[in-house]
Amino acid sequence: MLENNPVSMSPRPFGSNFAPEIHTEVERSQSYVIFQLGGEHYALEVLRVQEVLDMGALTHVPGSPSSLRGVLNLRGHVVPVWDLRIPFGLPVDSSIARAPCVLMVESNFGEQVRVTGLLVDRVSDVLEFPNESIQPSPPMGLGKAASYVRGLIRWEESFLLVLDVDRVFISLMNMAHPGGGF
């Protein structure tokens, strides 16, 4: 595929929805974007998220894997948007109450840093947690999502699942590969 117009990764301001403070004490604590997917709450490091968009008009790509919702225009750059529900084994049912948001996540493909959109049910908050509050995740009880979770954070009587976004990308790319899964 052409790569003559990679999405440039010059530092951009975060989206208008929120403007998280990036603390210099990265060593000790981190901020996380909290989002919902299939009834679970997930946490993703704010540093990986370039911005959050409301789900707008997408251009459908005929012949693409079902997990690709389409492509959108992010300030002049074409960015693919993947539905996280597919790799997580959740039904794609439009009747479920969603306020879908697209997390614009930075990912490394080979030597290139690109921005990829991940569609989630809802983005609820940005919270900061000390690093030691992350606990290892139990191997069971999470279904397909288990392989994408790298830890748990106790939060308001329940748990936040810390997303391993790189594994998500690997899995999406494998699914997208011809003969891989569609």
Partner: protein
């Protein structure tokens, strides 16, 4: 060391290594072209200088050896032969390795044997032979034994003759050298002197006056001016003078800047090129003037006398400079001058300063300059013309009387090192961004043109027209910036083919045509691999051995032609050989076995040769007949397709094979047709569309199981995009057909609507979608929506493949695999 600086070095070194390699490849045929040899020499010299600057002593050391050999060659002390070239190429390759490993933070040392061989070449041939004889040095014997039989095959039969001529010329050169026999015998170890002795011209000046004024930022760039001076000192006897006149007062001194300039009187017999070479690296912001002393003696005679008169007011050379300032007619208190005067002129130390007003500073500078110069006169001793004007007054006189060549740097006629159009290096990614933005701007400007139609907006008409024009110019110019000549690609192949010929024992003649053709930089970069692949194929499997060729009644020497040129709005690149051609029977057999073609296909079918590009076609048991290394030609095809290009092959048994790449001029932008299919908008590259016809009048019909449509009595197969895209909505009553060409045949592609023409900036679809060949990318339309760009060639191929699979399935009377 600044990383950016190192990065610049690696970039520059790789470029120079390319130049060096090209130079070496051509050297045998151009050894009488002094300008050319100088260029090759300079490339080596530049590498040495740059490597020294970044502290890569291994690179600098090896380059130094190469440079010495090249210097011998250009001064005709050593004749060029295949032996030397091979060794130099080997050394160049090692340099490449050294540079690459240095980029990874590793250090590779050159093997002693190579160094020894290079050193051996620096001796005149007569001596070389003697050495071999008397001291039984093994290296040169080995080297010549290695290389001589391997006398490059591509030179062919004519080669020995030419070589003999060269040899005789060398003998003549040696005879000339032996006229000054004491030089050869006693001073053989100091090659430069032999050099100058031989081509010394009677009126050659015995030295140079050099003014060297490095730029302010020279230290920041990592250049050490003192290193340059050291290098000059090596060339002969030099008298140095510092010009500290631009040193500011202490409170204004920035220790990171350079304020000094130097005057050098160099007594040497070296040619002026040698002096220029020393300054190769100092950068464009340095002022360098080199004037042969003889010229100065003649043309500046008057100036010198003027100067002497001016200087009479100044103290006699030898007396303390302390008295200097008082004799200069500047009303400055003597304290700062005293301090400045006590600074030895050779020490580039900033002078202490007192707080003075700017006007005092100005006159202070002047007096300081004159005091330094009076001292300079002292050190210059009795050299005629070795004087510099003391004050502005004298300066103007000198300028008037002296020729511009000998003029003083401050004058308008100053000559800078680089007289060609200045060039700058630009980050390629930035350039891509610029092209992208320029394209978007063009789209925006297009959209704004609608304003003209609005009543009341007439006054903007002119502005809008200008906007459109300027936008297009911006776009074209920025696109042009991305274009490079294919020479950058082709230039590496002579070497490749030489090496391949050496290895395979085949004789190959290479012809390159049209290398000035310009192409998008990205295309040129990404074509290297596919082309190398095909060239290897040609040498390994296309061309026969000299014996086989003679048997077949062909010249012993095989021929490979690389050609580039324009074909319409595309650029075509051809790789042609006059070898044995493709084995069609074998291909058909394979193709039928693989189910790629129907079982009854004849070997004459034009589609047959195209099969070699099919994935999985090249397998281990075809290795020897066809493509070779187990890597299929489908890789080549995919690489070219990714560049929105195509590859085709023609082959005649016994006559040869020709691969043709057809590529767009640029990747960034296309002229497109905006179409609608199932309520989505798509862009079709205009270059893929031959014609549009409405489907209303022509009814699609089934012909041997395929949808076809009759266009002007021609039955054209039809690809239905709605079907391919699995659109759920019913076909509209009226459809449009885009006629395209696929494998020489017309094919129709049906769409719902034609919406008009667009200029599209192409973007990648992103990771994970690369396999979707049907889209060559995406673009952003004027309304901000993303539209996919259709690749009609891939779409037709895709539906064709589906049909063939369906045919096969039917033929085997199994249920259809794909409908």
């Amino acid at each position: 060391m600044d990383d950016r600086f190192l990065e610049m070095f690696f970039e520059e070194a790789r470029e120079l290594l390319m130049v060096l390699e090209e130079g070496l490849m051509e050297m045998e045929s151009r050894q009488d072209d002094r300008a050319f040899l100088d260029k090759v020499f300079r490339s080596a010299h530049s590498i040495k200088g740059a490597a020294g600057m970044v502290g890569l002593s291994n690179v600098a050391g090896l380059t130094d050896k190469i440079e010495t050999v090249l210097d011998k060659i250009r001064s005709k002390i050593v004749p060029v032969d295949s032996d030397i070239i091979s060794t130099l190429l080997e050394a160049r390759d090692l340099l490449n390795v050294q540079v690459d490993s240095a980029a990874n933070g590793e250090f590779t040392e050159a093997p002693d044997s190579l160094i020894a061989r290079l050193e051996e070449f620096t001796k005149p041939p007569s001596q070389r032979v003697q050495m071999v004889g008397s001291q039984l040095k093994l290296e040169p014997t080995k080297a010549s034994a290695d290389a001589d039989p391997a006398v490059s095959p591509e030179q062919g039969p004519k080669k020995p003759k030419r070589k003999r001529r060269e040899k005789s010329k060398t003998v003549a050169g040696a005879a000339l050298a032996s006229e000054s026999s004491e030089v050869l015998n006693s001073d053989g170890a100091a090659p430069p002197q032999i050099d100058s002795e031989i081509d010394a011209v009677p009126d050659r000046p015995k030295g140079y006056r050099i003014r060297f004024a490095p730029g302010r930022d020279v230290l920041k760039r990592g250049m050490n001016p003192l290193g340059v001076l050291d290098e000059l000192l090596e060339l002969g006897e030099a008298f140095l003078r510092v010009d500290p006149s631009h040193v500011p007062t202490l409170d204004a001194i920035d220790p990171q800047l350079n304020y000094l300039a130097w005057e050098i009187e160099l007594r040497t017999n070296e040619p002026i090129e040698r002096i220029h070479d020393v300054f190769l690296f100092v950068g464009d912001d340095c002022r360098i003037e080199i004037t042969p002393l003889a010229d100065i003696e003649q043309s500046e005679y008057d100036a010198a006398s003027v100067l002497n008169r001016t200087l009479k007011v100044e103290p006699e050379p030898g007396t303390s400079v302390l008295s200097g300032p008082t004799s200069v007619e500047n009303l400055v208190d003597s304290k700062p001058n005293l301090e400045s005067g006590t600074v030895p002129p050779a020490a580039p130390l900033p002078e202490p300063a007192t707080r003075t007003t700017s006007s005092i500073n100005a006159s202070l500078d002047q007096s300081r300059a004159s005091s330094t110069r009076s001292e300079a006169i002292d050190s210059a001793g009795s050299l005629p013309g070795g004087l510099l004007p003391a004050g502005a007054d004298a300066l103007s006189k000198v300028n008037r009387s002296a020729s511009s060549r000998a003029a003083w740097t401050g004058a308008a006629g100053a000559v800078t090192k680089n007289t060609s159009t200045p060039r700058i290096r630009v980050d390629a990614a930035q350039l891509d961004d610029l092209v992208g933005l320029a394209g978007e701007l063009a789209v925006l400007a297009d959209n704004l043109q609608g304003i003209r139609e609005i009543s009341g907006a007439e006054s903007y008409r002119l502005a809008l027209e200008s906007l459109e024009r300027v936008t297009r110019q911006v776009r074209d110019q920025s696109l042009e910036l991305r274009m490079v000549p294919v020479e950058e690609l082709f230039s590496r192949f002579p070497r490749l083919i030489r090496d391949l010929a050496d290895k395979s024992g085949k004789e190959i003649q290479l012809r390159i045509d049209g290398q000035e053709t310009r192409l998008d930089r990205t295309i040129v970069e990404r074509l290297a691999e596919p082309m190398i692949h095909l060239i290897r194929n040609s040498v390994d499997h296309g061309l026969e051995t000299p014996e086989e060729r003679e048997k077949a009644g062909k010249p012993r020497q095989g021929r490979i032609v690389l050609w580039a040129g324009h074909e319409g709005d595309r650029v075509a690149l051809k790789i042609e050989d006059d070898g044995c051609g493709l084995n069609r029977e074998r291909i058909v057999e394979k193709g039928i076995a693989k189910g790629l073609v129907p079982p009854n296909t004849s070997a004459d079918d034009p589609r047959v040769v195209g099969l070699i590009f099919e994935p999985g076609f090249s397998t281990r048991d075809t290795v020897n007949e066809l493509s070779g290394r187990g890597v299929g030609l489908d890789v080549v095809r995919d690489a070219v397709r990714a560049l929105r290009g195509s590859v085709s092959v023609q082959s005649e048994p016994g006559r040869g094979t020709c691969f043709t790449f057809r590529l767009p001029l640029t990747l960034a932008l296309i002229d497109g047709l905006l179409v609608e299919v199932a309520h989505e908008k798509y862009v079709v590259p205009l270059s893929q569309v031959e014609e549009c016809v409405a489907l209303g009048g022509t009814r699609p019909a089934l012909s041997s199981g395929r949808m076809c449509v009759s266009v002007r009595d021609e039955l054209v197969p039809l690809v239905n995009l709605r079907k391919l895209f699995e659109a759920k909505s019913p076909n509209p009553r009226r459809q449009e057909i885009l006629l395209t060409r696929h494998g020489g045949q017309r094919v129709g592609v049906s769409v719902d609507k034609l919406l008009g023409r667009v200029q599209a900036v192409i973007q990648s679809l992103g990771e994970g979608l690369g396999h979707l060949g049907r889209f060559s990318g995406a673009t952003i339309l004027g309304d901000g929506a993303v539209s996919l760009i259709l690749d009609l060639t891939a779409i037709v191929a895709e539906s064709r493949a589906a049909e063939i699979r369906a045919d096969l399935a039917r033929a085997m009377s199994k249920p259809e695999v794909i409908s």
